[in-house]
Symmetry: C2
Subunit: 83 residues, 2 copies
């Protein structure tokens, strides 16, 4: 999950995201999530963002076999269950 939302709403969006998945860096979270919880998270985010100004994106990786992660510099945080 990556988000680009107004400063006024950024803490609300981050707080919702952290309830379900793991904060990684800046405005990035990642994690394994059940479809039912993914839906709940999206409903909650829908309620707090301004849909004419804010943007929240989800990259849904169904099979981690085809996914790799590379890092330059420090690792701010990581979800060990994931990638």
């Amino acid at each position: 999950m990556v988000y680009d939302v107004s400063e006024r709403r950024v803490n609300k969006v981050l707080k919702i995201g952290r309830k379900y998945i793991t904060w990684i860096q800046n405005s990035v979270l990642e994690g394994e999530i059940l479809p039912s919880n993914f839906l709940k998270m999206k409903v909650e985010i829908n309620k707090v963002i301004n849909k004419n100004e804010d943007s929240v994106l989800f990259y849904i990786l169904r099979d981690l076999k085809y996914t790799e992660k590379e890092n330059i510099g420090i690792v701010k945080n990581s979800d060990d269950r994931f990638i």
Copy 2:
């Protein structure tokens, strides 16, 4: 590509990223890239970041068949070749 770098270096990192892939939102870029260009991009980023402070992450999705993208709110930008 997602980055969390000091404000002093953020424009340099963004500029390098945009040479190779597409800006999507805030500190997020995406795109199709040849392995040789990916390597070049990483070498350039390595030169401008402070490896003790900054963090640049690459999620490498080898097969888009297993990847979906969902959006809440506005779409700031998108790469039509991708997802």
